[in-house]
Symmetry: none
Subunit: 218 residues, 4 copies
DNA sequence: TATGAATGAGATTTCATTCAT
DNA sequence: AATGAATGAAATCTCATTCAT
């Protein structure tokens, strides 16, 4: 019985190792793809920064593109989870808005790899995104949260009613994405490092001001 | 003398051809780099879409990177010229602001290749940008134009005084860049095509509203 | 005793399973090797089309080559059995000849996988055939049957005597093998599908005519 | 002027070299593919047996399959030329028939690589053949030559009229192809080396006898 | 008897670049 | 000013096989 138990554990361990191998590849790949882009990333480099070998990429993901798709999926799944965790029903509409803006801002700053992967995917015209079944209607959560807040605010007359959730989401997204995705060129051209803590704090506040200001204008 | 004249003409023609070859390579390269990224672009493809051969890329630009740097420079020179042409002294501060926002918006929509090149460059951490001498202080014009308007507006009390030109520029840029740079993923996830004429018109108006609204709040 | 009986049954079942696994591998392997050739066949594909796993190929056959050798042996054993079942003593020599030709013809048409395996083996210069001990003198039955018929026919003066059994066997074989082994290219080049029922019937008759005609010429 | 002439020669030489490189690759590839099959052939091996490098295979043929297609095309073009060179109008129908049979027989024996390539292609179900545009209606010459002879023979009553050119061509082809394509297994099983000169001569005569005998039977 | 994970060696293919004229 | 041929280095991918249980 000890025998059996041991071998059962062994099997579990192997399975856990398999999962770990897969996860490790995914993690490093996310890093490398986000740093070098799809074509710039090297399968060899990804493997080397791992405990396993290049061969495993093909074993688990079928190839470079498969790995990239998995990275894409994991990245988007990550943001979806964050969004779903974001609750704002307990706040007054105006506060909720600022809260959503700030949380989104923080999420972008804290997950630069994800933002960069999105940039990479856009360079490739989103051609891979469509191949990932599980990413079909991923947009909904973010929009519906804002929808609720806007609806509540419109009811009380606090928020204007000629703007929809997607308009707001786009404003927030564009502002937040830019911080991370364009920090290199913006920093170079204007000498302002958007990733520096004080600048970040300022921009965070400004975004809140802008969003609230815009939606509370009659 | 006939001899000489002929050979002079020949030389002129050759020079003109040379200039044309260079220009054609630059044009196609801008397209290809903006469509496929730096690593994704193929020297072979660029050459094939040209009337010349691959060898000329090495002849004129020294290599793939040299060509990319030239593309980068040309692209930024283009935007600088547009910005310098933008005049707003004849308008009241608030109108000038809206005007700047809308012109910038249009410029981005009308020059997607440039926006995409900037994305590409950011993917590569702006590592090439620094190598182009002529792009040193390119940021100034855009900022100084806004600076003037803000100064005028602050004087009359029309515009708030706790926001600087760079803050405004960043808001406008982020909003405009997003339209073009992220249209693929945004369109896929939310089903809104930011490049469609009606959506574009709506976003254009919204951007003006946001900028003006933000800066006229006390 | 119940214990023992149970374990005996268990063992039988296991053996039967083992036999079944082996047989299944062999069957699928025959198919795959005959469809893709030796080098073209993939161990992975064979395993996938089976209820077992790739590992079993190594367990039962030692490897890809061992599996191929087993396929080769089984295929040739099949034809030998067919040939041995072919009886012609009860027919007049001329009828027997036609009968042998037609039976052989049918056998080839009905066992394309075998014919294709022979082609594959010839592509590889018969290098594996020599390794299968049990295939040593496999040729004899076919030849000796013809030998008998020819001997009988020569005795009565019905059949010519300057042709030996192997000459006849080669004619029949070449004609029959071609039907199956070269149907793709012949069909492509001449637009005649040798596997179509009516063409097959015509060729069958023609073969009989040729063989009989040839051997009855003085 | 000497300058010019020299450089013209140089250019010619380069061109000739290019042609030579291509031709050499094609020649070695024909050998290797015919010896090892499509999947069994190694691009590396082909290159190594050449004065150039593996890279050139991709430069000239685009890849392994492109090279194989070129081999296929060259091989079939070779046989077509041989067939077109074969003239038989000056012979009496019966003699012409024997002549065609014997010439075809010799051609097969003298071009084993071609026969083997055809076998290889059949193993792959002729899937590549269809991709070579220039091989569309290649069959015609062989058939039309026989057609003429048969027509002449039927007119004089020397040859039977219920057999068409394709029937005859198939008989001849199958007999000849078998000699080369199946010599390994046939030799192994029956101990008769079909490629040995004396056996070859015997089979050559026999084929003539069979063809003539068949077609002159009323 | 059976199996999922792993792997090394080698195969094919790609790519920016240089050579020779 | 221009060019076709050539290329080395490296990238991606494949395949039969073995490990550990």
């Amino acid at each position: 019985m000890v025998e059996i138990q041991r071998s059962a554990q062994g099997s579990d361990e192997r399975l856990r190792d398999a999962e770990r191998t897969r996860a490790e590849l995914l993690e490093i790949a996310t890093e490398v793809f986000s740093e070098q882009g799809y074509s710039g990333a090297r399968v060899d480099e990804i493997a080397e920064r791992t405990r396993t070998t290049k061969r495993m990429i093909y074993y688990y993901f079928g190839g470079k593109e498969g790995l990239y798709l998995a990275v894409l999926e994991a990245a988007y799944r990550g943001i979806r989870e964050t969004e779903q965790a974001l609750r704002a029903d307990d706040l007054a509409p105006v506060d909720a808005l600022r809260r959503i803006a700030e949380m989104t801002f923080d999420h972008h700053h804290d997950h630069p790899a994800f933002i960069r992967i999105v940039s990479v995917e856009n360079i490739h015209h989103g051609q891979h995104l469509g191949k990932v079944e599980s990413l079909r209607d991923l947009g909904t959560p973010a929009a519906s949260l804002l929808d609720d807040v806007l609806a509540r605010g419109r009811g009380t007359g606090e928020l204007r009613d000629d703007v929809d959730a997607l308009d707001v989401h786009m404003l927030i997204s564009s502002y937040c994405v830019f911080q991370v995705a364009n920090s290199a060129t913006f920093g170079f051209l204007f000498g302002r490092d958007m990733l520096a803590p004080d600048v970040r704090a300022r921009h965070r506040r400004i975004l809140g001001d802008i969003v609230v200001g815009w939606l509370t204008t009659s």
